[in-house]
Symmetry: C2
Subunit: 429 residues, 2 copies
Amino acid sequence: MTALVAQSTDALRDRARTLSARLDQLRAQGLKLDLTRGKPATDQLELSNGLETALHGDFRARDGTDVRNYGGLRGIPEARALGAALLGVDPATVMAAGNSSLTLMYQTIDAALHFGLWGDDCRWRATNAPVKFLCPTPGYDRHFTICQSFGIEMINVPMTDAGPDMNAAEALVAADANIKGMWCVPKYSNPTGCIYSPEVVRRIAALPRVAGPNFLICWDNAYAVHDLEFPPPMLASISDAAEEAGTSLQIVQFCSTSKITYAGAGVGFVAAAPDVLDRLERFLSVQEIGPDKVNQLRHARFLEGRIELHMRAHAALIRPKFDAVLERLETGLAGLDIATWTRPQGGYFISFDTLPGLARRVVALAKSAGVTMTAAGATFPYGKDPLDRNIRIAPTFPSLRDVEAAAEVFTLCVELASIDHFLERRGAA
Amino acid sequence: MTALVAQSTDALRDRARTLSARLDQLRAQGLKLDLTRGKPATDQLELSNGLETALHGDFRARDGTDVRNYGGLRGIPEARALGAALLGVDPATVMAAGNSSLTLMYQTIDAALHFGLWGDDCRWRATNAPVKFLCPTPGYDRHFTICQSFGIEMINVPMTDAGPDMNAAEALVAADANIKGMWCVPKYSNPTGCIYSPEVVRRIAALPRVAGPNFLICWDNAYAVHDLEFPPPMLASISDAAEEAGTSLQIVQFCSTSKITYAGAGVGFVAAAPDVLDRLERFLSVQEIGPDKVNQLRHARFLEGRIELHMRAHAALIRPKFDAVLERLETGLAGLDIATWTRPQGGYFISFDTLPGLARRVVALAKSAGVTMTAAGATFPYGKDPLDRNIRIAPTFPSLRDVEAAAEVFTLCVELASIDHFLERRGAA
């Protein structure tokens, strides 16, 4: 196809009419489709029904703990081993917690601010200086919401195909001692789907050497095993890189089984250097007696030795949905020079960029035809995409048929909004 | 028996020699007994094994929610109904949460301090004024730890057999506007076991009228259904009393199934007026996506219509342990005028008072004979029992045989420490 910008005004008007007519047809169908949610579909949840019978009435953990009783804030050994396997770290550095890694992230930031992850004097709120965080963008809105809730000022760092732009990150950190941390979703980044390169992982691990001793890398490895291709691509170990850089105390890693077994009824994990884990445990001991160890044992028994098998089954269900979206985007938009998008090898999202200034318009247009997209801007701190162009596509939850229908509407809306934009610029709308 | 104080010095010396000899015998047995933990015993946990099969592969909540997927911060309808049944409140006022009511209490205090339970301007930390809390004593150490972690100053209010001394509480609140709340364990209070009288409940509900609009009653109804006698005694409704007093916005109630089903793997609940629950939900939405709804559904299905039956089964297992302790105390100490203790109709504890100044000594003596008691002072804010006399006895977790053995050691230690005390006072030690 010819780039839209190179097409004649008449050709664009013709095309706009065709697309508008088609959009009206689609509107008349009363679609109610939703591509907003990074949620597993029901058939994915069914893969974990074996959890319910994983215990067989045996409630003793490997170390003799009766998982039905109180205690054990750090989690049972087999659950910690499960978290270690997911994150690729030493089980001794892992705490197996409740149902949410998001909660662990919130608690970690809370502890760093008010309690001190490296001792009382290292509390970020020990002084009145502002606390700032680096936020690779586009990124995960819930990370940003945590920062906002604590009044942490967020600074955008552009994402590249290999991870955050480390030249930018290093320069920012060198220039401002109030920057105390950085969010990272290193594998199948939310939403771009990229995997941080070994070079980027190495430079992130070295960042605290520039930033200072109470700088924290929040390594949210949410999609550690959520591969769509096998053998899966490898993420370089942040633990190894940190050990080399002498920054192990500055790295906290997170993951959960939420998109492995049941979403919201799984087990969350946090990994950190022993001293940091001790501090976190002390902080948490005020607000909880211990995690749900029964669910931990269920998960450990159910997943032991079969994580990849299980994730292959997920991939078999969701890969066709990713393919359907990507195929539709390719068919409808390739060559028009009005959009770019990612082709992730795993994770839960496709990141889509319109022409600058059109994301909100596209989302509104799709909404008018019954297709709900994640709000434009949601992938940026404070909900503000400076170029108004990024849209996160989440294809896992709807049925394949609905994904196909939604992708058609979306593609059409992107083209139509882009044509309108060109016509307006030519004063020919 | 004759009161110790009235006995001759020679008689006391004789008795001390007998007791010391017996204590040495017991020490030689190498006992390792533990009366510290308010934990259910294994046979109690077995009562809930049916939880594991309560779902029968049906993961749909009453409202159609697939409990295996994300969302629903307020909990599923049947879990909220369960919490409402436990607390005796309207299900519309209940949030069914994760595995810990302690966590809900921490979060509620956190929200009241930093977010505002009644709007942004009502945050307790909106100004730099100190925040203070009334703490009925003896009380629950984990309540005190929450206050301490937030720098909330704690003020002791003496407990009576009918609940907190409300004359004291009302006078304190009237005199100091910085007192922002009060802890209450209204039924089978931890550790005294008393049930707040209807009069006390009414006066607590009216307390915010004196204290002001951002005063919070933390109503931790941890032992709402944990009866040892049937039909069980009734606790007056704080909701009804608050409605009458016009203070419904100032009451937040808590409970959990931790000592009903599995300790630490159950469901926690918080109940509050709709506006307050909305605020709390907004506060929590930053740190979690939703509770473990699978476990909520398990619990709702397992307990529906059989809470009393289930609690009667618990009572059958733990009442003999309470009786063993009480019988031993009665046999060993009645008439000596050196101690008082409670005879609870439910809950998990017996509260024991030595002569002033002897609690630490008794605990240390028992420890020397292999019997671990809760640290003296633990039932008071900052771990400081001003009279050094309260000891919390938790008889549920050990076997009946161990409870009997531990009660013997404890009783002996109380008498021996008291005799030593009298002899010292007479200069005859």
